[in-house]
Symmetry: none
Amino acid sequence: MAQSDTVTRILDTAEVLFAERGFAETSLRNITSKAKVNLAAVNYHFGSKKALIQAVFSRYLDPFTQRFHAALDELENRYNGQVIPLEELLETMARTVLEVPAERNSLKVFMRLLGLAYSQAQGHLRRHIQSEYGEAFTRFTELVRQATPELPDAERFWRLHFMLGTVIFTLSGLDALRDIAAKDYQEQVTVKDLVRRMRPVVVAAMNAPLPEPAGERHVHAAT
Amino acid sequence: MAQSDTVTRILDTAEVLFAERGFAETSLRNITSKAKVNLAAVNYHFGSKKALIQAVFSRYLDPFTQRFHAALDELENRYNGQVIPLEELLETMARTVLEVPAERNSLKVFMRLLGLAYSQAQGHLRRHIQSEYGEAFTRFTELVRQATPELPDAERFWRLHFMLGTVIFTLSGLDALRDIAAKDYQEQVTVKDLVRRMRPVVVAAMNAPLPEPAGERHVHAAT
Amino acid sequence: MAQSDTVTRILDTAEVLFAERGFAETSLRNITSKAKVNLAAVNYHFGSKKALIQAVFSRYLDPFTQRFHAALDELENRYNGQVIPLEELLETMARTVLEVPAERNSLKVFMRLLGLAYSQAQGHLRRHIQSEYGEAFTRFTELVRQATPELPDAERFWRLHFMLGTVIFTLSGLDALRDIAAKDYQEQVTVKDLVRRMRPVVVAAMNAPLPEPAGERHVHAAT
Amino acid sequence: MAQSDTVTRILDTAEVLFAERGFAETSLRNITSKAKVNLAAVNYHFGSKKALIQAVFSRYLDPFTQRFHAALDELENRYNGQVIPLEELLETMARTVLEVPAERNSLKVFMRLLGLAYSQAQGHLRRHIQSEYGEAFTRFTELVRQATPELPDAERFWRLHFMLGTVIFTLSGLDALRDIAAKDYQEQVTVKDLVRRMRPVVVAAMNAPLPEPAGERHVHAAT
DNA sequence: AATGAATGAGTCTTCATTCAT
DNA sequence: TATGAATGAAGACTCATTCAT
């Protein structure tokens, strides 16, 4: 077996299984037996299961940040100092997210990991991600700020995370939702489909009117 | 030890630990030792770990669905056959969601559990939830359908779940997000704050224009 | 529920389950849940699982020994001091064995239990049986001794157990053997059929010539 | 520790303990601790307790069938088309059964398993054995048929199983019977002893006169 | 007299990891 | 460099039994 063939097979298999079942529910035995690789190979090549998870993650994240920066460069070039419209920014983000995983499952894995990073109490994963792709996110946020000058900073922060929730929730729980949708709408949605559907929603959400100031809510005000 | 004190202690502890770590990462040993209860008690009272997970959920969902149905009854009464505006529906949902766990001061836990139900493998859990509160959700969906007659059914389905993602992600990852926000905006958000902020976003998202049909996407069409 | 109804239900159920699965493989939970009786009832009424096993046996052995003694009394009376022929003794045994469980239509169960008593570890059970019906067996053995004066004692002991093996194995594994036989010989045997077939075999076996003394076996002596 | 030393030690120990106590009453802990082997080793090497039981079984059965076929070959060669006498066939069977287990306990284990295979409700074990050594048994049965041409097929079938009962019951319940015999006859029987004693009994049983036809039984016909 | 609750010891099995080769 | 074997810790679950009521 070629040198790094084993490494690749492990990564490929782990990616699929992680996406299907989650991290805790996927054992190294599952991975190595499906990858037809020695059980000890994971520990030999990666050191530990944790390290394998991060490796799977990095294989997506590294090219993503690289491409994302490149795409933003191109965008800034094109607009040459002018404000980049919000739609362009979101579009660029979406395109890059979709482009990277030649392998299809890694997107789900990536989203799942992102979801974990935010929901898990221990912040170590969050910090790892923030130090890895925080810079790209900060750059993106700043461009969004310029595209939505009327939004208070805090509002923008929350709305971006509202949308992050939409994306992560939808894509990481994709299988579950697909099950439900398929039963009711005979429709086999693809990731691209979903992204297409998300676009107007996200734009509208970001451009929504500001909320009434705190304390002035009237429950039946709509009537 | 009092009658069903044990049951309550198990549920309370399991709830917290599940929310903190997820289902697979929480062992019965973790739960029973923290709850100061015999290891076999879980199996005695609930039958299995699976059943315990479902019981944790039911303790939320049972009162929730009950209240939710009551609230929708009241709403239908008030509107007396007329179409109930989307804002009212969302408002009612939000209020009920907030009321129920308020008693236990554990909205965050509930949301995290819901998130897990969607993202973690546990197919049994999703099925359990669907059969338990599916009816309430269906009723709600139908009212939303009447309030948004112009939306295709599939579109509405997905948008509702997009928004579900927003809510679950934001409220379940509240601590993490609060950390980040506090550092940057000196602002200590409350759950009510967030719900206030979400309202216009959710309404705008639901009312967003329809996406371009599949296959016709032009990347730079927005310009 | 009537007083000893519970006891009867436990015994009935235990009997069936023990015969189906063996003692160790049948839990008190199995028994009590199938008998629709409280889990603690076995320990309450019988004291322990061991005692339950013995009780199941006694319910057969008590009437059996009683009848067997009566039948032997009648036989001795009839032969009035003369030697009772072996065929009569075996016949009497067979008849009594068939009569007792006939009331409960559970000869098979009884045989399976007897088989278990010999083959399973349960030393306590063997000892219990020996002290319970050992006397009847001793009496029977002595009559057989008189009917077969030429047989050394040890030889008679073993041959009786050889035949016990035949009977227990055949009747306790009846279903399995019936399956095989039915497939090959289109014949649906009844218990009475089998007993009829066993009679000449058992007689011949008991009357077989003595074995060559130990150490003098010649493998090809038959030629 | 040497290569498959562990496997052998597990098999050896399991064999002894299974024979002493039965399968359900022997825990993997019992085995591994007595074999001075890690608790997980059984599952590592055999996969499950069930598989271990079958492995113990196969270690006896595989060489047995092989030798048995060889012995029958030799016999057929020697008799060169002539009918092989029943005594020779039984003798060959007995010899092969005794030869195989260099380790002494496996015979008892083997017999116990055979007993289980017939008496247990679930036929899976019976089917396993039938597919494993059914061919050898069929071959043997056919030779017995030629040696006892006067016997109706059904009669032969049942008599063979009567004798199987004798052998299995005696050898699998050996410890129990030995206990009883030792108390009464100061005699420490060996397996070889028993087989010597069985020989004339089995021959006589197979050659017993045919039973009276069904329906003509007269209980006191012997007088 | 009878039972629901509880328990401690035990079951088999699976885990990620290590080690000798 | 790579792997089959082995391992200690932990997993969920079941057991017969006890106890307070």
